[in-house]
């Protein structure tokens, strides 16, 4: 049985070189090529490759964030990063025993890396994001719609609202459901979102105003959002202070 490999790199020649090297190795089969991080995610979802060769510097979403979203998939592939030059990332790979290849990739090194390729676990990726001098926060939230993945840029998100099991993400052009604990989202995006209710985080940049209803309840209005969101009594003081500071 052959191992199925996905190549992700924004440069066509870099992809074709890896493909050519892999074609020379009998036990590996290239199942696809992706030119960006989001494309790599999409193909991973539908094709479930065993290994992904992931370039770090790619437009729309860099390799390290892509790896982070990949690790949340049910059948996540093993990750081998490729890079031409990124001293911070390389130090981080070394210290967390994460597989990587330097371009131009040598055949023997590729073979060896494929042999030892391993899935990344979440703590590893978080440590990697920290050590490679990238912010530990994602720049997109990845929502799944059946066979489709949808990446929502953080700056377009108005609020997160927790239901019983899922979280509704309301963004500029619609809504999606994600399956992540609200607590962790609050922690990861602490500098962008503020908790206004036990089940709601709103994006500070979209807050328009806060007001008191005739019945004594506080509510917050967001730009581009027709409905106000209730602010719970517990959070009123903190929200007030923050809204005053930020608007």
């Amino acid at each position: 049985m052959t191992t199925r490999v996905l190549i992700a790199d924004d440069e066509a020649l870099a992809r074709s070189r890896l493909r050519r090297l892999l074609d020379e190795l009998a036990e590996y089969e290239v199942i696809g090529e992706a030119a960006s991080g989001s494309e790599a995610l999409q193909i991973s979802l539908t094709e479930s490759p065993d290994i992904i060769l992931l370039d770090i510097r790619m437009p729309d979403m860099d390799g390290i964030e892509t790896a982070r979203h990949l690790s949340a998939l049910d059948k996540s592939p093993a990750v081998i990063f490729t890079t031409a030059f990124d001293s911070y990332a390389i130090d981080a790979f070394d210290s967390h025993a994460i597989g990587y290849l330097l371009k131009p990739v040598r055949r023997e090194k590729l073979e060896r890396a494929l042999e030892f390729a391993a899935r990344l676990v979440r703590p590893q990726i978080e440590a990697l994001a920290n050590d490679s001098e990238r912010p530990a926060t994602r720049s997109n939230i990845c929502a799944r719609r059946g066979e489709d993945l949808h990446l929502i840029p953080i700056e377009e998100i108005l609020y997160f609202q927790a239901d019983q099991k899922y979280i509704t993400v309301r963004y500029l052009h619609g809504e999606d459901l994600i399956d992540e604990p609200l607590k962790e989202l609050a922690l990861e995006f602490a500098d962008r979102f503020i908790r206004i209710h036990r089940n709601t985080l709103v994006a500070l940049i979209w807050v328009e105003r806060m007001e008191k209803t005739p019945c004594g309840q506080y509510q917050i209005w967001l730009r581009d959002c027709a409905e106000p969101l209730p602010v719970s009594r517990r959070h009123v003081t903190a929200v007030k202070a923050c809204v005053k500071k930020c608007i």
């Binding site: 440069e11 870099a14 050519r20 510097r57 437009p59 031409a84 030059f85 131009p104 912010p135 840029p153």
Partner: protein, 366 residues
């Protein structure tokens, strides 16, 4: 010995020009290290003074105790004063801060001397016209000798602080220049990606691989040459096009470079690798992070005796993370233009909602 402080004042006018934007050379008198140095200076001075005054050993230690008591406490008072005045003194130029420090020291010495003399007068036992020898007896002699010794020592100390500060600044600026020189070279990112391109081309398109190797050699020859060297504008435009070809090979349709050069004097001189790094920046920060096509516009024109070149690139919505090299590269180009043309050359940048533009202007020199 009194020559030293004068010497220092002579140095100052030369530095007055750039002193405005420099932090003062005065050390932090609030730090324990400086307090220690000051006490040490006071003790050593006391020993020297006592030795110079003494003709026999019998009264050496009592005399030393007296002198060092005076000097140590005076210098601690001075240190405290300068510590308190520190943030205020920092606002002045080198000359201003020196004069004010000097004045503060003399005021403190005068005050301390006066207090000691009057203490001696007030607390002398009744009936004895002359108080015991622990207090000074000749008012004006005591005061004036204290001030003269203090002035000389302060002059020496200020001179010392100034020289060591100056030396440290030289070391720092030398290191900075060296780093800039290194950064003027072509990005390693570009080198290795090009190598990767060539590695693939050798199999699929040997002819293109050959061209790529030639291009890369030209670029590195230019990059390894003395970065302060002036080349002709034609040469610089040529090397920029060579660089563009390399990137075109790598990025394909994603990169579009629009040239618009109007009657530029090809023989005009320009520091080597001035335009090329601007294009490199534009591609690195403006085109590579874009998922689809990025257009870089290079414009050149002549107006009177000046040449204007500008490079404009789209601003990506989201930048690649951890890349802050841009400032240094631009700073480097600015420095080299200044070195070649003085103040008549300039570099400016402009950012609007969608684009980033760097413009350089320099006089025509043949």
């Amino acid at each position: 010995m009194t020559r030293q402080p004068d010497n220092r004042t002579n140095d100052k006018p030369g530095d007055a020009g750039d002193s405005a934007r420099l932090p003062t050379y005065l050390p932090n008198f609030c730090s324990s290290a400086i307090v220690f140095v000051v006490v040490l200076i006071a003790v050593l001075t006391s020993i020297a003074l006592t030795l110079a005054r003494q003709t026999e050993w019998s009264s050496f230690f009592s005399d030393l105790a007296k002198t060092s008591l005076l000097l140590v406490w005076t210098s601690l008072a001075i240190t405290t004063t300068l510590c308190v005045l520190r943030s205020w003194l920092n606002r002045f130029s080198v000359a201003g801060a020196s004069i004010l420090t000097f004045a503060a020291v003399i005021i403190v010495i005068t005050t301390v001397s006066e207090v000691i003399y009057w203490l001696g007068m007030t607390y002398s036992p009744p009936g004895m016209p002359v108080p015991n020898t622990w207090f000074p007896q000749h008012h004006w002699y005591f005061l004036s000798s204290n001030i003269v010794v203090g002035a000389i020592m302060t002059g020496l100390a200020l001179r010392y602080f100034y020289v060591s500060h100056q030396r440290q600044r030289n070391v720092e600026s030398e290191a900075r220049t060296r780093i800039h020189a290194l950064q003027a070279r072509i990005r390693p990112h570009f080198l290795f990606n090009s190598m990767n391109t060539i590695a693939e081309l050798t199999r699929t398109n040997p002819k293109a691989a050959e061209t790529a190797v030639e291009n890369l050699s030209d670029l590195f020859r230019a990059s390894l040459a003395d970065s302060s060297k002036l080349v002709s504008l034609a040469q610089e435009l040529e090397i920029t096009r060579v660089y563009q070809n390399m990137e075109q090979q790598r990025l394909g349709e994603r990169l579009v470079v629009k040239w618009q050069l109007n009657e530029l004097p090809q023989q005009a001189r320009i520091p080597s690798l001035t335009l090329q790094p601007l294009l490199e920046n534009a591609i690195y920060h403006g085109v590579e992070p874009l998922p689809d096509v990025g257009v870089v516009e290079i414009e050149g024109r002549r107006k009177g005796n000046m040449i204007y070149l500008s490079v404009r690139n789209p601003l990506p919505i989201r930048k690649f993370k951890s890349e802050a090299g841009n400032q240094i590269a631009l700073e480097n180009i600015r420095e080299r233009l200044e070195l070649a043309f003085g103040s008549s050359a300039s570099l400016s940048r402009a950012i609007d909602q969608t684009h980033f533009q760097v413009s350089i202007a320099f006089p025509i020199k043949k």
